[in-house]
Structure formats: C-alpha cells, structure tokens
C-alpha cells in the first residue's frame, strides 16, 4: 500500500481497540519467566555447547601470537576459533570495527577468540587460559585532544555544515549573546540482557536465535560477514531483553556462536559477559558542543549556532547533536557544524535518540541560560521563539538513525516547510499548569526544605518521526482467529500489543482473538525497532495487510469491500451480517502487504514535541542530587496504546535522569578503554533515584504520518529531560554545570558553608 496522500477516515478511527490502554499481551509470559530469550532456547536447541568470548587486552596494535595449547587440552573443550582459523570474514556493512579481531586490534575488548566447551564453567575457564602476545601501538583516545584535527562529517546523508543567512554578523550584532561550551560523556546502553545468540547449522543453512532489534538488517549482516547467501540465514528473536540501539546491529555474540558451532560441529550459544559488553560493543559517543545564541533585548532569537565534536573509529560516524537546532526554534541567521575526530576507542553508534539526546542536553541548558540573561521566564522565552515552519530551509532534514541508510533518495529542500503538527507551546502551557510552574522562584538558591535545597527546571523535548517501509502477513484462521506475522521486534516497546490491537481493530475481532508472531526472518520484513520508528511504521504495515485481507474476506463472502464493516466478529453491509469466520470455512485466508511512503515527509516536517518539568533537591551539605518530581507532556500523533506508550516515555525519562546525574563511561586516555565496564561502576538509576513520574499525552492525530496517524514516542521522552534536571539543579543551587553528568563534586565547592 502506498501512502502518498494525507490519511482520511479509516477503520482505525473507530478506536475500539487501538488507542485503548490495554495490558501487554506478552505480559503473562514475561511476568512468569516463560518468555524465552536468545540464550534460553533449550526447547529449540536441546544440545547447545557453550561459547566464551575472549576480548583483546589492548586498544590498538597487533596480536603477535595466541597460545591456545592449554585451552585446547582443557577438559570439555570442543573448539577454539580465532581469526587464524575462522576462515575469511568480511566486515559487516553496518559495523565499523570487525567483530572478530586479529591480527590487527582496533579497540579494547574487541573479540579475538571464542572457546567452545561442553559446559559454561569449562568454556569460561578455558577462555582464560589463552596466552596472547601483543604488539601495542599508540592510539588516540582523547576527544578534546582530537578537536583540532577533527574532520567535517555529515550526519547520515546530510551535509556536515549548514547555514542560513549570515550567522557571524547577526550574532555579532545581537544585543544579548550567549557563547558557551557543553560536554556530554560516552554512555552505555546497559540493557539488562547482554548480547546473546544460539547458533545451529543444518548443512550450509544457519539459524541464529538472537537478541536483535533489526532482523532483516541482521540477516544481511550475518550473510555478508560469513560470506554466505542471505537465503541460508535465519534469525529468530521473539524476545529482546532491551536494546536502546545496542542491538540494532549484529555483534560478536552472533558471529562467534555461528563460527563456534561450525567448528564444534554442534549448536553453540554465546552470551557476552557483562564486563565485556561495554568495550566490546557500541556506545553513545561523548560530545563537545559549542552553542551561540544571539537575541534582541526582548528575547527574539536572531542568531543561533551549534557546533559539535565527537569521535569514532576511522570509518565511523559522528553524533548528530546539532540536529534539533536546525528546526526547534526560530531565528533568521543560523549555522550548524559537525566534526568527527578519529579515536581508537570502541565503536560509537546509536543509543536511544542518537543526536537529539545529546544535542538537547546542551541546547536546553543554553536556552535556560539565555532566558536568565534576558530576565525572561524560560518557558516564555521558548514560546516566543516557537516556529511553525522549519527555519533551516537550506538543509536536508537531518537524521542520524541508521534506518536513514535505507532512505530512498536525498530529500530536497523546500521553502517554508511546515511541520505536520507542532504543539510545543501547548505542551508547555499544559505542563506549567499541572506542575505548578508559577510557583517557581527564578532567582536560584532560594528554596530550602530542611537539609535540602529545592529547584525546578524545564526543557523542551523534540525528536523527529521517521517513515520507512514495513510489511506484514495477516491470516484469518479457520476458527475465526487472526494471526499476524512480521519480522518486527518487541524490545520492550509493546510491539506485540499494538500490532495485535491494530489487527483486532481492522478485522473487527477482540484482541484475544489475535495471535501475534514477531522477530523471525521467515516473516515479512518490517521497519524493525529503533529511532522511535517502529510503532507507527510496523502497525501501518499491519494495517496495509489487513486492508488486503478485508478485501479477500469481502469477496469471499460476497460483499462490496468498500461498504463492508468489520466488527464484533462479523462482516456487515446494509442489513446483511455474516460471521467473519465463515470466510475461512474452506481454509485460512492470508494476505501480505507493506506500507510504502510517498513524499508527505518531504512536504511536511514530521516531528514529535514535548515539555519536561523536573523538581530536584540538593543536599545542602553533601551536594547529593535527588529527583523529587517529574512531568512530561508529549504531543506525538495518535497514541496507539496509552499504557505502553506512557511506559516508553517514563522509561526514557528514567534514562535521562541517568544521563543527567550519573552515567559516564570513563576513558583511561593512556590505555584507551572505558574503565568502568560493569554495572556497579557504570551507574544507571535504581528505584531509589526515580520518583513517581507524571506524564500527559496531548490529543493529536497526524494524518501525514500514516494511516495510523501515529508517530514515534519512545525516544521523545529522553530528549531534553537531562537538561531539565540540570536546569533544576541550577535553580536549586545557583551552580551552572555544563559538563554532564551533574555530580556532587561539580557543585560542592560552590555551595554555601554548612551550619
């Protein structure tokens, strides 16, 4: 189905099932421990041996030799695979570094071997018996040191630099100016399930039960890496224990499980040990961001400039921190620049809302600072500079999400490109009222509650909506139930449920009558999960398949498909009603289709908006920071399931609190690795860090986005929230921290004396 004209009324608008806050249909499995994740497939693979991955002890250099003798002779060991005996391996198209290193080493903990044994205990012990001799080389590990030699780099298909008007002269002429530099650290996804795969060969056919967000990409990547035809690769990933971008790509667990299984002559399963995950896989890169804003005395932005530096391995990509600055606020003269430093740290890549997450961390502090300089309320300052058209018309709509790799053509500029929907102002107005913003005291350090200094802060939320082809197969079974099959994944997002709701609405059956089967490469290719594109696109694909199935059913039952209504398990037109199941009396009916998009996303900028409100308290003695209240107001198109969508947003807010207050991969710039590579030393928020979270969705349907009229929402929640926290800390203490995370050591020297 081609979607090339704004959506009109369709069966989804009934909202009998879609739009209802129903419980997740996979809930009973997940809460009873009966949902099977990639390493738990005793049911499908009863005799898997255990693979243990060995990581490089150096960041850069070469392996001179690996002595495997002791490991080989160890009890239970079945096979050892290194680059020496793995056969020729290609680098995946979406990987920057090789998944099996050697002799060249590209980063710390790059996999250099997998040891396969009968038991996990034997594999782990034997893995630690390898004696590896390295030639260590000097590497570059310091982003700040690499700034001078950093090169212009585009964000995906976009140009590295954009400019409208003349930023330089406009900024110089602005009566009120801000020129500040902000830094964000390297961050880790730290999803709860480490990367894991179980691989089994059947002749030259390979099946991998894995934990992956993007099944079709994964098939292509496995085939390319192992030099085999795609047709011989099957990926199965029905449950994914969190991803946040870490599982967009095939990683070493999948490739080494496959190689180990081939070498051992039996199925092998591999999970990355937690201490290896951080340096072995990908992470969100650190950024250094310079932001300049010039305004008139009454607060109108006349000039805005945003430059960002980040680092990656040679051949890698920059963070897209400047993305939102091209379209979030008005201002006639503007520029952005993106620079990439070549670093020999582990591979940088997408983590939840890549680009906007880091960019909003900086931009939204800058907006708070600017409002203060102007003596304006930070909400009023943002509202004053709202824009209903994209101000950076010279540039292509930016996107750093890897999904954009598949974009069909470069997007052409157009004058005054409007937003399909933009309710940023309403988000702020609604939130201000709910949160009690009018009680804020603008002068910092004024509110005290016992031992605590109290402050509140605000920030915009902004994240683009992305459209991409997505297919599904829908089958009316002979018993009148409906089965949906698509390679879409549910990484905690609620895909099972919203896909089930979509099919139930379209076919006029209760949700209980729909079976949803996901995450199998033998199913039609979906959008996959990432970049908050999964919800809208995958359900739109199911919608398309359902439209086709409805036509087949109508024909079978002798209805005019344009007039037939599907509800309550019946097909009706005029005064005739026939049970839906009758259409499948002679055998099930199956329809497959995809949603494909025209140019509505070129005519209209499709973005999601929100406002974050945060109250923090800071211990007046220790400077410990705790979040006391949080509210997000979001406008993100039709909300397909308010319960699961809310969970996505508050989950993202939680991750944003982590980014604000504790998350930082510490680089040892001598050795070239992330030092704190476990869950005790890389701190993410725990229960005690997170208060009750409040959130509101504004009423919105977006007919430009898809027949579902929905947009992404999963990543909007993280964009801006860290800045709202940082702004609240400033309001509480009067200490402006521009280097994340905002930790007590950055405040304590500037707090008033105790006593």
């Amino acid at each position: 189905m081609k979607f090339d004209a704004p959506a009109t009324t369709n069966p989804i608008d009934q909202l009998k099932v879609v739009g209802q806050p129903v419980d997740r249909i996979d809930g009973p499995l997940k809460t009873t421990g009966t949902a099977r994740y990639a390493y738990e497939r005793h049911d499908a693979v009863p005799n898997a041996a255990y693979g243990y991955v060995v990581g490089s002890a150096i960041a850069k250099g070469r392996i001179k030799s690996i002595d495997v003798a002791a490991a080989k002779a160890a009890l239970g060991v079945l096979a050892i695979v290194t680059a020496e005996n793995a056969g020729k391996l290609e680098k995946g198209r979406l990987n920057t570094a090789k998944l099996l290193g050697g002799p060249e080493i590209q980063h710390y903990h790059q996999a250099i071997a997998v040891v396969v044994a009968e038991t996990f205990e034997q594999a782990r012990d034997a893995g630690q018996m390898l004696r590896v001799d390295y030639d260590r080389e000097q590497g570059s590990f310091d982003l700040r040191g690499g700034m001078d030699t950093a090169k212009p780099a585009g964000i995906t298909a976009g140009p590295p630099d954009t400019a409208v008007g003349n930023f330089g002269s406009a900024f110089a002429a602005a009566p009120v100016q801000l020129d500040e530099t902000y830094t964000t650290p390297d961050e880790s996804h730290a999803m709860m399930e480490p990367h894991a795969s179980t691989a089994a060969w059947d002749g030259d056919k390979l099946t991998i039960w894995t934990s992956n967000q993007m099944i079709a990409w994964g098939v292509g990547e496995v085939a390319k890496t192992l030099n085999m035809p795609k047709e011989n690769v099957r990926l199965i990933s029905p449950f994914v224990g969190g991803g946040f971008g870490a599982k967009l790509f095939v990683r070493s667990d999948a490739i080494l499980a496959a190689l180990g299984a081939r070498a051992a002559g039996r199925p092998v399963k591999v999970t990355l040990q937690r201490a290896l995950v951080i340096n072995n896989t990908t992470h969100r890169p650190a950024t250094i961001q310079r932001i300049r804003i010039g305004t008139t005395r009454d607060g109108k932005i006349t000039a805005v400039g945003h430059e960002s530096w980040s680092g990656d391995l040679t051949g890698g990509k920059p963070d897209g921190a400047v993305s939102q600055t091209r379209m979030l606020y008005a201002g006639a003269d503007r520029m952005t620049a993106t620079r990439l430093a070549a670093l020999d740290l582990p591979e940088s890549n997408a983590m939840r809302a890549p680009g906007e997450a880091t960019g909003m961390m900086a931009l939204e502090i800058a907006m708070d600072e600017m409002a203060e300089r102007l003596g304006m309320d930070p909400i009023e300052f943002r509202i004053l500079n709202d824009t209903q058209v994209v101000p950076d018309v010279a540039s292509k709509p930016p996107s750093q999400d890897p999904q954009a790799i598949n974009n069909r053509e470069a997007q052409s500029p157009s004058k005054d490109k409007p937003f399909s929907q933009r309710q940023l102002v309403q988000c702020f107005r609604t939130g201000a009222e709910r949160f009690g913003w009018d009680k804020r005291i603008a002068q910092p350090g004024q509110v005290r509650d016992g031992r605590w200094l109290v402050g509140i802060g605000v920030a915009s939320a902004f994240r683009n909506n992305q459209l991409t082809k997505s297919a599904a197969r829908v089958r009316l079974e002979t018993d009148g139930t409906v089965t949906v099959e698509t390679d879409m994944t549910d990484i905690g997002t609620g895909s099972y449920t919203i896909i089930g709701q979509t099919a139930a609405e379209m076919m006029g059956v209760p949700l209980q009558k729909v079976a949803v089967r996901l995450g199998d490469s033998s199913f039609p290719i979906s959008s996959g999960s990432g970049g908050q594109w999964g919800g809208n696109n995958s359900t739109a694909g199911v919608y398309a398949a359902c439209v086709k199935l409805r036509e087949m059913v109508a024909q079978k039952l002798g209805f005019n498909s344009a007039e037939a209504a599907f509800s309550d398990g019946e097909v009706r037109a005029g005064n005739r009603a026939v049970p839906l199941a009758d259409a499948a009396r002679d055998g099930s009916l199956s329809a497959e289709d995809a949603i494909e998009y025209g140019d509505l996303d070129k005519k209209f900028q499709q973005s999601t908006f929100g406002a974050h409100f945060v109250e923090v308290v800071v211990d007046a003695a220790t400077a410990e920071i705790r979040v006391r209240r949080m509210l997000a107001v979001c406008a993100a198109g039709r909300i397909l399931n308010p319960k699961t969508a809310r969970s996505q947003v508050i989950g993202a807010m939680t991750m944003g609190v982590g980014a604000a207050l504790m998350e930082e991969l510490v680089v040892d710039k001598r050795v070239g690795f992330f030092v704190n590579h476990d869950l005790a030393s890389y701190e993410v928020p725990v229960h005690a860090d997170i208060p009750h979270q409040d959130m509101i969705f504004l009423d919105e349907t977006d007919p430009m986005s898809s027949p579902m009229k929905a947009k992404g929402v999963a990543e909007l929640g993280i964009c801006g929230v860290a800045a709202a926290v940082a702004n609240a800390v400033y309001n509480a203490t009067g200490v402006r921290v521009r280097d994340y995370p905002v930790t007590l050591d950055k405040l304590i020297a500037k707090l008033p004396a105790v006593g």
Partner: protein
C-alpha cells in the same frame, strides 16, 4: 505449575543422559563434581554438578528454569533474584552445592501464565516491565521484600530503627534498589507492589 514442572523434569532427564560421559570424564580427571539435592518450587531435585556451577546456572542450564535471568553474573543487577528459605538472594553469587537441603522458589514457582501470582498480575496491570528481562527478579524480590517489611527489617531510609516499619514509597524504592530496570519501569513497579502490599495489609 504442573506443566512447567513436568517440562523441566523431562528436559533434565534428557540432559543427564547427554552429560553422562562428561560426568565420567570429570570424575576421572578432577575431583570437582559434586552432588547436591534441594527443593525447587516444591519438587525435590538432585543434581551432580561441576562444583563451580552457580545456583543461577544450575537453575537455568541444568533444570531449564530460565525464568531467573543472568543480567551481569556479578551481583550488580538483581535479575537473578530467587527466594531461598524465604529470603531473596542473588543466585549468581552463590554456588549450587552450597544449597544442600534448601528450599528454593523461582519465578516459575510463584505462578503460571494461566494462574498468575498476585504480584505477577499486578505487574501486568500496572505495566511494571517492558523488555521483561529484569521482571522475574523484580517480582521475586518484591514478594520477599514485603515479608522483610513485615518482619521489621530496617532499611537505609527507615527513620526510627526502633519503631514499626511502614511501607512508604521511599521504603519501597530503597528496598527494591537491588533490582535494576534499564527500561525504567520503576514508577509502574512501585505502583504494582503498593497495590499488592495494600491488599495484603
């Protein structure tokens, strides 16, 4: 419950056969193979294990009770939480052989998809999970935690060590802090547990 147990039993029998040659090799080559018997979800289990096997791996890899999750294998995430002798523990930091005669309850022993434990039902109702990977640990932890409150065990946020403990929101969040949820379902988990606690009280 019946279904889950019989599936696991069958799988265990199969595995024991497959491992028999290995067991002999191990027994001949090293003295590290040890016998242990304990009760899991009401059923007596006897295992002959490499002494290095953690309780978590014994459950997941030998008894095929994969509900208990391995998130870190270092005691830093809480995903492996099970209940031993009524107390919640991180099963990744204890050896199976150290549990001779113990009574172990895992997520599979609390309820089944068809017959959810009240805590499981509350998690579903309040959407107290997303990816589901930390969920069994959260639920086992929550069930045991409520008993700790009843038993008067203090926490870091207990204001008066010598008074009865009330399960305030702060108490609940502090006591659940050993179970990390990266999807950030904390707010919903707290609501689920509060509902169950209220019902219990």
């Amino acid at each position: 419950m019946g279904t889950a147990a019989s599936v696991a039993l069958g799988a265990t029998a199969g595995r024991a056969e497959a491992q028999a040659p290995l067991a002999q090799t191990l027994a001949a080559g090293t003295p590290s193979l040890s016998k242990v018997s304990f009760t899991v979800n009401g059923a007596a289990r006897e295992l002959e294990l490499d002494a290095r096997t953690t309780l978590l791996d014994a459950l997941r890899e030998h008894l095929h009770l994969t509900g208990s999750k391995k998130g870190c294998d270092q005691g830093q995430c809480g995903a492996c939480t099970v209940i031993v002798g009524g107390r919640r523990v991180t099963s990744c930091l204890t050896l199976a052989v150290m549990h001779q005669g113990h009574d172990i309850t895992t997520i599979e022993g609390l309820g089944t998809p068809e017959n959810l434990h009240p805590m499981q039902a509350a998690f579903v109702k309040h959407d107290g999970y997303q990816c589901g990977y930390c969920t069994p640990g959260q639920i086992c932890s929550a069930v045991a935690m409520l008993n700790e409150v009843k038993a008067g065990i203090p926490s870091h946020v207990t204001a008066d060590l010598n008074a009865d403990i009330e399960l305030t929101n702060a108490e609940l969040r502090e006591r659940m802090s050993g179970n990390i949820c990266r999807c950030g379902a904390y707010s919903n988990i707290a609501e689920a547990i509060t509902e169950v606690a209220g019902r219990q009280a």
